[in-house]
Amino acid sequence: MAEPLSRVVFDAVMARAGIVLSDAEAEGIRAASAHVQRFAAAVRVPRPVGAEPATVFAP
């Protein structure tokens, strides 16, 4: 299992998002950020620097 965000980073992210939480809520949600960190690690597989995302479009 990946580590959750540190409390400092998590608080900064919530402040940027304009989300105000109680301490208990913050700790519960911060713990769940470990899932996001696990997903974020899993999508970082070796690939060429020019690999395109699926969201490119033709104008």
Partner: protein, 462 residues
Amino acid sequence: MSTPSIAEALKGFADKTLSPRELVHDCLDRAQRLNPVIHAFIRFTREAAMAAAAESEARWMAGTPMGPLDGIPIAHKDIYETAGVPTTGHSRVLLDNTPAEDAAVVRLWKQAGAISLGKLATHEFAWGGPSFDLPWPPARNPWDISRFTGGSSSGTGAAVAAGVILGGTGSDTGGSIRMPGALCGVAGIKPTYGLCSRVGVLPLASSLDTTGPMAWTVEDCALLLQAMAGHDPHDPSSADRPTPDVLTGLRDGVNGVRIGVIRHFHEVDMPVSPAMQGAIDAAIGALREAGATIGEATLPPLDAFNAAGWLILATEAFAAHEPWLRARFRDYGEFLRERLAVAATVSGADYIQAQRRRRELCAAVTGKMEQFDILLTAAAPGEARPIEQMTKWASFEGPNFTMPFNLTGQPGLVVNAGFSPANLPLGVQLIGRPFEDALVLRAGQTVEQALALGGRRPKLPV
């Protein structure tokens, strides 16, 4: 009156052995009497439905039905905008939202003659559920009301299974048609991304969101899909290509069709229950008996699809809800507001890496579709679980079987293929190439006809 399929009802209307007015009246009565138990509806539109049914009956009596669904009682998931009828997303955030116009799909079904009985329960904004702190309770599974319906098209699954509507709209961003289809024992298709308009449907994650139908039978899904598919220039994701005919070849069988069973998905990556494995084996047997060739398809691990899928879904959902989250955080239910708060922790780079991974995963599946015409796997790990076991973070904790095909945009159909020892339905999932929705429906029709489970309905008090 036992609930007919859409195909049976249309035949009955045509030969005048069934009255649209009586059918709509009967469905409404049962729906309203059952609703305190299954909570499938959050709003009824009885008066409008009965007026429309009377008009439909007059047309049928005159031999001039207005369209291919004239008189069919349906209902819409409450993320589909309906003119003059509140559309809330099952959320306190939109309690006062009454759209001026119908969603494109609502309009198309209305033009085909379908009669809406009201608005159906959903997980809050198609992601937050099952929740008990919203303005309406979560829908319950008609096969056992202590069980989860699956979501997010929870009300549609419950109402179709209970036989109080003949079909309804769902939407599918990570499995929201196919999971309630599987757990409620109804058919549901997530069409190819871009086949059906999303205009007027509250978004969850735009690069994954797909509108689609749910119904008791595969044939009914095909009838509903035919009436909602087609290019919409107002939807930037809409494919500008001719609308496929999903009805004509529906009964042509699968002789020579190449089926690839993604065995590692349901045996290794996320092992299913023995009963679910039995249902998968039954579906494979039905397809083999009908002349399909069966092989084994190996794709990247289920976890790889889910990692990319959840990052994309979460980020796009957060972007859609960001203004409301800032202003009305406490108006959301706990499940959704906290999931969206976690979504805020996805970085921009995470999102793009997920979209790069998506392109790689799509390429892997596209390559496999040169060997196979249809892929087959589970739609859920087993039977519906008790609703109280569905925790806030459950969807992040283990992979699901449906997300891969939201990432790839392929059509995916769920069809019931068995029952657990507790008499709960077990759905399998069939996946085709993009815009080959008709072949997926043909394969599903083959399984459904061979297994002949459609006569088994939930036992309900009314």
